[in-house]
């Protein structure tokens, strides 16, 4: 077994200088390196000796059955996110999805398993999000269910998605290249045969050329066309007819008939079979690259976070993979490096470029205790950080996942195409059979009857129908994402297109949300400093813009901030803290008055008032000014020009609110609104038939955001914005709102166009083919054209969006 010059493990020749000799079980064994020796020892010690007897060196790639071994319960468990005792989620990448029917099939059949709650598959990315009850079904059972249907599941990691995408794109390209090359040769032969048909040809030469044509067609059918056959077989096995089945039927009929004609005389139609495959592969190739383009915008988000990190263990620095970091680990990030995972500063003070996440172009100062998001750039100093979340849960990873989930949510209009596709196929098979029977009994040559039936099969391929909605949605959401507009799904896209009323929140939405304290008015007998100290104590845990302004002012005055008791938030009203010296309240005048505090009048003008009380006594007031966003005026005007009614909903006083709406020419103003009031008002508008878009800061507008048709959170960088809104603007810029509505309206328009084209096309061509007016080759050309037309139309949507709203390179503000 072990020859002298071959390594016993890897079977490669051993360079004499590298020879490693080991003695195992009394036998002297030769290895080419210590690595092989180590592996050999591991394999032996695991009792897997038979590996060396059984292994087969001619076998290519990964041996069959390997997936069963690696995807054991414990590995998969690591990819499961538990929501509750009876609800868990797992993300998979599924290889082998060819068309929207595959998606339909997987969703339908997986959904039938006991314990599977919800299956959503993104045709664009081939990702499946499966919600299931872990007490009824295990992830491994889900895996084997997917495999039984004939698809190959992988647990999801971003590396796996890219690998699979690249592999699929390459294999598709090679299949297409091969088919195109052979079809070109075939065209030459067919040309000769057609010439011979009209002008006469020597039977010997004719026969030779026919054999050559058969020779070049066979690999096209069985290699390039193989993916259609497997798809067709899968659909037959699962009794859900798909487009692959139609294509396979057409190809096999044309090829089989030509073989018959080759041996028993007659005209051959090899070029039909080859051209169908070549052209459809071309369509798939286009479709694939459109999909990859949409994927790349998500990819860009994720690439921001570096793959490796410097972990500090016992004073030593180890370079580890970012994905291996767990909460509590301490890492070092040097200036010029990006933050690998979501962290909190342990030691060090730096300026941080957060533009990738907030769009804010100026660096911000970060101090110990501040949280940092993965993907942001450390500019000035080395930092010691404690890891807060694992890489997969970091802000950008969640954002990327959200974008993808968004593409999973189908627009209602898409279900139409899905339903049509599944009912369409048997219909077409019937029409084809009918065509054949009709022409067969009309006693025209039998070949014509068959060719007409083949034409029907080919021309009916409803690819265009299946492509109409997903491509437009992908292009629209992808282009929107590049502009910092994230639609959480095709359904949101469609709802956004129908919006006719926009309600704005004030603080942080129309205003910058970076208020500053203009005036401190302490109650008689109190000092300004004490007032600020008390205010900063109660607000220290809050992220509200007003709280931040108070904290900033306190820091500037050298007051040490920090909570001095349990703080309870009353959303939209204020905060309550139970401290040593009694109950402290901070908030609006109404909030204090309702709690029995007597507040004297304060001359505030248009400024926002914040009141404080200690143990039931008024302690003072802070007057806060929050400047309007620069672009607010123009954005509101544009929205009004787009035919939308604008409304201001705010918890602030009537004077302050009115002043803002006068400046911006907002039609209607409703002030002194609690979050519940806002939600109720929106509900009333919806009952009155309006489609409402609510724009808020996402922090205390959650009820209003969720009761609106579309909720849009402006505070792009906060977690809450991600959780509560349908439409997220990652860059807090009101102009994006107009862009979002434009994109949504355009997308819907293009979807309707696409569906119209696809339907009309099939309505016209099927009767043509059935009546024998369309030769199979032309049917194939027409079919591919319709797919290309629909995809091209969707790409045109992208161009139109880009032309109307150009994205400047490195754009951060405007």
């Amino acid at each position: 077994m072990a020859s002298v010059d071959l390594c016993i493990h890897c079977n490669l020749p051993i360079p004499p200088s590298d020879l490693v000799v080991d003695e195992i079980d009394g036998r002297e064994l030769h290895f080419c390196c210590h690595g092989c020796q180590g592996v050999y020892r591991i394999i032996r010690s695991a009792g897997l000796n038979s590996f060396y007897q059984r292994r087969d060196w001619s076998e290519q790639g990964v041996p069959a059955g390997v997936y069963d071994a690696t995807f054991n319960e414990t590995v998969l468990e690591g990819h499961v996110t538990k929501r509750s005792e009876i609800l868990a989620e797992i993300s998979l990448v599924i290889e082998g999805i060819r068309c929207s029917s595959c998606v339909w099939l997987l969703e339908k059949l997986l959904g039938r398993h006991a314990g599977v709650i919800d299956v959503r598959i993104n045709y664009g990315t081939h990702r499946a999000l499966i919600r299931f009850n872990p007490q009824e079904i295990s992830p491994i059972q889900i895996f084997s269910a997917v495999r039984r249907l004939g698809y190959l599941p992988h647990p999801f990691t971003f590396g796996a998605v890219q690998d699979a995408a690249v592999r699929e794109q390459r294999s598709l390209l090679i299949r297409f290249g091969t088919a195109a090359f052979l079809s070109m040769q075939l065209m030459g032969f067919s040309f000769a045969l057609y010439g011979g048909y009209f002008h006469g040809i020597d039977p010997g030469i004719r026969q030779t050329i026919q054999y050559l044509a058969a020779a070049v067609t066979t690999p096209v059918v069985f290699y390039s066309g193989w993916i259609f056959f497997t798809g067709a077989w899968r659909s037959l096995k699962n009794r859900t007819p798909s487009m692959d089945l139609l294509i396979s039927l057409g190809v096999i009929t044309a090829y089989g008939y030509s073989l018959y004609a080759l041996f028993f005389g007659g005209e051959v139609y090899f070029e039909t079979a080859a051209m169908i495959i070549t052209l459809i592969l071309l369509g798939r190739l286009f479709e694939n690259s459109a999909r990859n383009r949409a994927l790349s915008s998500i990819d860009k988000l994720l690439r921001l976070a570096p793959d490796s990190a410097n972990r500090i263990v016992d004073e030593e620095i180890l370079v580890v993979a970012s994905s291996s970091l767990t909460p509590g680990d301490v890492i070092l990030v040097r200036p010029g490096e990006r933050i690998p995972v979501d962290c909190r500063i342990l030691d060090g003070e730096t300026e941080l470029d957060e533009s990738t996440i907030t769009g804010e172009p100026l660096p911000v100062l970060r101090r110990p205790g501040d949280g940092l998001a993965a993907g942001t750039l450390n500019l000035t100093a080395s930092l010691k950080l404690t890891v807060e979340r694992v890489a997969a849960e970091s802000f950008i990873a969640r954002m990327a996942r959200m974008v993808e989930e968004a593409q999973n949510n189908k627009a209602p209009i898409q279900f139409l195409a899905d339903r049509v596709a599944t009912f369409f196929v048997p219909c077409v098979a019937l029409i084809a059979a009918g065509t054949w029977l009709f022409w067969f009994f009309r006693a025209v040559p039998h070949t014509d009857a068959l060719l007409n039936a083949v034409s029907v099969l080919i021309v009916a391929c409803p690819c265009a129908l299946g492509l109409a909605t997903p491509t437009a949605v992908l292009v629209a959401t992808g282009n929107a994402a590049a502009r910092g507009i994230l639609f959480r799904g095709g359904d949101v896209l469609e709802r956004t297109a129908h919006i006719d009323l926009i309600a704005f929140d004030k603080t942080g939405t129309l205003t910058l949300g970076k208020p500053s304290i203009e005036q401190i008015i302490p109650a008689p007998g109190r000092s300004a400093k004490d007032l600020l100290l008390l205010a900063s104590q109660i607000e220290s845990g809050s992220n509200h813009p007003i709280a931040l302004s108070i904290l900033a002012r306190a820091r500037a005055e050298g007051i040490k901030t920090g909570a001095a008791g349990a703080v309870e938030a009353v959303p939209g009203r204020g905060l309550r803290m139970t401290g040593i010296s009694g109950e402290v309240l901070i908030g609006s005048r109404a909030f204090l008055t309702n709690n029995g505090v007597t507040v004297p009048p304060v001359a505030s003008g248009s400024l926002t008032e914040v009141y404080l009380s200690l143990a039931g006594d008024w302690y003072g007031a802070l007057l806060i000014h929050d400047p309007l966003r620069e672009e607010a005026r123009q954005a509101v005007t544009r929205l009004q020009q787009a035919g939308l009614t604008t409304v201001l909903l705010t918890g602030d006083r009537a004077e302050a609110a009115q002043q803002i709406s006068d400046k911006l020419a907002i039609a209607e103003t409703r002030s002194n609104q609690s979050p519940a009031d806002k939600a109720a008002w929106i509900d009333r508008q919806r009952q009155a038939g309006h489609k409402v878009l609510m724009v808020g800061d996402g922090i205390n507008d959650a009820p209003a955001l969720s009761s609106a048709d579309v909720g849009c959170a402006m505070a792009g960088g906060t977690d809450i914005a991600l959780e509560t809104s349908d439409l997220v603007l990652t860059r807090p810029n009101l102009e994006r709102l107009h862009e979002a509505i434009y994109i949504a309206r355009k997308a819907l328009q293009f979807i309707k166009q696409n569906l119209f084209w696809a339907f009309t096309y099939n309505l016209i061509t099927i009767p043509l083919a059935a009546s024998g007016k369309l030769a199979p080759v032309w049917a194939a050309v027409a079919m591919a054209t319709s797919s290309v037309l629909v995809v091209g139309n969707s790409l045109r949507l992208g161009r139109q969006i880009r032309r109307t709203f150009p994205v400047a390179k490195g754009q951060t503000t405007d």
């Binding site: 794109q169 390459r170 390209l173 290249g177 040769q185 050559l212 490195g810």
Partner: protein
């Protein structure tokens, strides 16, 4: 006549196969993996480009 046709056909098949093998080699090398990116690369800011290079090296 028939011989010359057959020779020509075989010759064209050989040349075609050569082109086909060249194509397969290019695909396997990854030349077609990103057909969109390269045309924008010259427009990229220089430090972006460097990062791209570093990423490739890793």
């Amino acid at each position: 006549m028939i011989q010359s046709i057959i020779i020509l056909i075989v010759l064209s098949l050989c040349i075609g196969t050569g082109a086909w093998l060249f194509f397969i080699w290019a695909v396997k090398r990854g030349d077609f993996d990103d057909v969109e990116g390269p045309k924008y690369r010259m427009l990229d800011d220089s430090d972006d480009g460097e990062q791209e290079d570093q990423r490739r090296e890793q």
